[in-house]
Symmetry: C3
Subunit: 432 residues, 3 copies
Amino acid sequence: MQVILLAAGQSTRLKPISDKNTLEFNGKALIEHQVAALKAAKMRDIVVVGGEHNLEKLKSILKPYKNVVVVEQKNLKEGMAGGVLAGAAKVGHKNIMVMSTNDVVDPSVFEQAIAGAKGDVDGAIVGAKVESYFPGGYLKFDKNKMLTDIVEKPGEGKEPSNWVNIVLHIYNDFPAFTDRLKKDKSKADGRYEHALDEYIKKGKAKMAVVKYAGYWQPIKYPWHVLNVMAHYFDNQEPKIDKSAEISKTAVIEGNVVIGPKVKVYNNAHIKGPAYIGEGCVIGNNALIIESMLGNNCVIGYSSEVTRSYLNHDVWTHGTYVGDSIIDENVSFGSGTVLANLRFDEANVKVDIKGDRTDTGTHKFGAVIGSGARFGVNSSVNPGMKIGANSFVGSGVSVDKDIEEGKMVLLKQSWTVTKNNKMANTDSREKLK
Amino acid sequence: MQVILLAAGQSTRLKPISDKNTLEFNGKALIEHQVAALKAAKMRDIVVVGGEHNLEKLKSILKPYKNVVVVEQKNLKEGMAGGVLAGAAKVGHKNIMVMSTNDVVDPSVFEQAIAGAKGDVDGAIVGAKVESYFPGGYLKFDKNKMLTDIVEKPGEGKEPSNWVNIVLHIYNDFPAFTDRLKKDKSKADGRYEHALDEYIKKGKAKMAVVKYAGYWQPIKYPWHVLNVMAHYFDNQEPKIDKSAEISKTAVIEGNVVIGPKVKVYNNAHIKGPAYIGEGCVIGNNALIIESMLGNNCVIGYSSEVTRSYLNHDVWTHGTYVGDSIIDENVSFGSGTVLANLRFDEANVKVDIKGDRTDTGTHKFGAVIGSGARFGVNSSVNPGMKIGANSFVGSGVSVDKDIEEGKMVLLKQSWTVTKNNKMANTDSREKLK
Amino acid sequence: MQVILLAAGQSTRLKPISDKNTLEFNGKALIEHQVAALKAAKMRDIVVVGGEHNLEKLKSILKPYKNVVVVEQKNLKEGMAGGVLAGAAKVGHKNIMVMSTNDVVDPSVFEQAIAGAKGDVDGAIVGAKVESYFPGGYLKFDKNKMLTDIVEKPGEGKEPSNWVNIVLHIYNDFPAFTDRLKKDKSKADGRYEHALDEYIKKGKAKMAVVKYAGYWQPIKYPWHVLNVMAHYFDNQEPKIDKSAEISKTAVIEGNVVIGPKVKVYNNAHIKGPAYIGEGCVIGNNALIIESMLGNNCVIGYSSEVTRSYLNHDVWTHGTYVGDSIIDENVSFGSGTVLANLRFDEANVKVDIKGDRTDTGTHKFGAVIGSGARFGVNSSVNPGMKIGANSFVGSGVSVDKDIEEGKMVLLKQSWTVTKNNKMANTDSREKLK
């Protein structure tokens, strides 16, 4: 079986976080985790479909992997259908697995899906079990577990099953499906699903529904990055690299990975699970709890980083970062605070493409794009997004999203008068 | 002898701090401290007079005490006279002690007062010794130490003695006094004192003046809470509860009480005298000096609390709280600072019912009502009062009192322009 | 040989830092360092020329030194020429060294200069070697190393040599020179140099150029104070005074001098080179890196002071001070941050008499005059100057220089509305 791994999506709902595929977890890009998992499941040939925005990065990341080719989907407006067809041009077998990097799953799903596609069927489609309503496509199937319909976003209470379609589809006769897909004239947005629907309804294809109740995490919204981080924590083995320098008074507890050349200074405290990338510096008295740091981060003196994801080269100094997602090359001036709890302690909402979207949690901080800078004593309200390459001036209290590439400076008003109160040192002794 | 303990006062000068009677010191409400002291002095029957605002709380607190009844003064406008009469309806003896919870005294005063009321007199009245002018009623007495007059607020330099009237009065024939009190037609405000005056002048009653030079602290203004706190520190025995979890690198020094289930994290430092209530969490690197914490407070990472009184459920995080009084259920966002020293280092003044009132100290922070919330990086000037259930937004610098139940949000002006300065990571290495 | 040591300059470019001569390095005023160096080089008689602004201080500092007299230059507008003539009135020898306290040099220069003035010459003039362009007077000399001209600020690329004139001039027949100087009618600003020029050109005097390649640091701009500090660090021997009290958990590393009666509290960390003056208090968790502190400074809880010069009586509390120069009797409210890195990481510039002057470094903080006060959570941008006796209010974000003697208070706008969100404690447990 060959795999078409769809990685061309532009992650617009993830903004200002850049392409999910290149985000690293435990020192490995997400795309690499997924390719490695497929390889471990004995998938030999993998065609990764990228877009103009990430093609070179994907190629560079996947260079070490044999039998993995990266192809470009030229027209990204053609959505998933376009991605599948771009991949189809590079595969030769009839037996194909189509998978998307949007979904993080347990590798056990591959075996299950392959088993499901065996026997007298034309393929298999994986349904992930959901406990509460999820705005996706629900699988309807007959008593033989053969797919009869996919109901898109039925609304809470109207779900036809507990099983939601995730893009992990096996086709035993892929050309039969792609012939149909090529001819399909429906809109890009739902063209793949429409062709699949026609394939089973008009084409009488039998697609077995594989009921998968294991780990599944879509990466659609920024806060999903924190969920995926937690997943990779669950799978990490604690390790402190020999080249790391750790002060005797520093405390490292729980499941913590500390990369090469990391320095941990006096009285710093790392409470696992945590991952500290190569070359990071953890300053005096710093506190890191359940967080993942990319390479070369500097968590300065008296900073706290809690339940957060920091990409490479993030610098803090007397900063509080809680429940936040920070892309690479971001720095925070001393005294910057990312607030992570509303006054009313309600769930934090984030503006996603104009919709106030509930993060599902009452503790959520900020989402910050790469290249952002924060002046000293700046503040960010819960749920704010700061665009890439935007600079937030000293003393600014961010209470609305900042677009990318902006310079935001504070305009303060002062009263300036003659100072008639001379300060003396007489009282100093008594103040000590 | 039976006791009428007056506890119906509404503590308006103490605002935004709630009823003094229910404030806890060393884990016990003030009313309970006073009842326990009376019991220890062999007072069997105690009638506590409360008001609508605190009746249920008083009943609940005093439930475990035998022969203590709580009665309601229906019309609080009738002041002390009304309170005494409400209590009078519940006592049967002729020999009665009238006392107010406004005054914190050493228990030795009771024995002194009782001794003073013995012999050929109609009762005794306790005078507390003052070293400097106090705006109260000064006792005038003859060579036999019999009260001749009470001079209200004579003004500095015009005091008839060093002895100030505190409400600890013993009547050997209480009905004789209350008959007079019931008929008295003077204004509520001074009616009790007027009746007492008539009782000695027209009624020829002999009230012995008891000269008391021991500990006396009225609780009239918020800062008196800190004085009372210091008093209870003087009387506490250091103790660390067995169920407390204290990090090996935490430092506890001096006279410190640590309650059950308290957690003290790494490198936290508690400098006594201090009292840490049940279930509190003292975070990494936190510093607590000469302060009292109610139950379930969380003093977060890198917070300092110095010379302050915190009621239950107060949360700090990267916060400085100095010389302040904080009622229950208050939380401070990271970076909040309560300033406690004026630029000119003069005594801090607080606005009490429209009067700028000198706290008598140059180090004084804020007075904060229950249910208040502070956004990140907010600041409070010395001597400010923040009303109960008021929320102070991120970045707000409080320079005037905030009434209760307000939402105060910062309106900032920014200049937002295109950012032409791209941040790169090239310089990061040299910055390390 | 007698020495005229010029110390009457008003250091206008150093503002708001006060007179350089009285700034202490390693517990000794700069003037004292220079007198001591001259004494060590066997200079017996030294005439120090001061001005009205520093005369008494100079006298007081130099009192213990024999054969050192302090004279006043009455008219400071007469510049260096006036200073030299004021000194000339107090010297008797013909053989005179003229030196300025503007330049910090290695004591080896004196021997070199004296040797250069020997033989068949009328004196010597010291040239300090420069590697890059310096806006001073460049020495032009003939093949016998006899001075032929001083070219003032020739512009980069047009320098006649690598040797810059520093005020360390020896005259073998001083009266011959001063006769000329007295009669010179050119403007005060260049009168000394003009007279010297005439002395060699019209007077045919032979002034040998002494090429000095050792340590040389002019003190012209505030940031030069940090360079001089580094110089004195290089010459200090580590020492911890016996009367200092240092917590067992404090860390002192590198070349550190700790003066008498200093207290270093728990988990404080001092990374040398550093100098901590008498009576300083270093609070819990404080971090001090490569900095010099005068006497009686208090570096409070959770403060960082990095690569900075602090004069006496500077108080911090939860403050970040980086790459800054702070004159005496300054205090910082909790949460104050002196930013020391621009967003674009370019060299920091400082406004010196109207010119934006490059400090030559991308890490530079603030320059703060004596008697300044900072309110809580105030911020200062890189390169700002705060005048002496100016008070900066709570929450102010300083983005332009503050003149001396100003009271700067923040005018904030708030929206104040009824708060409909009551805070409860129900959620507290889950938040812990």
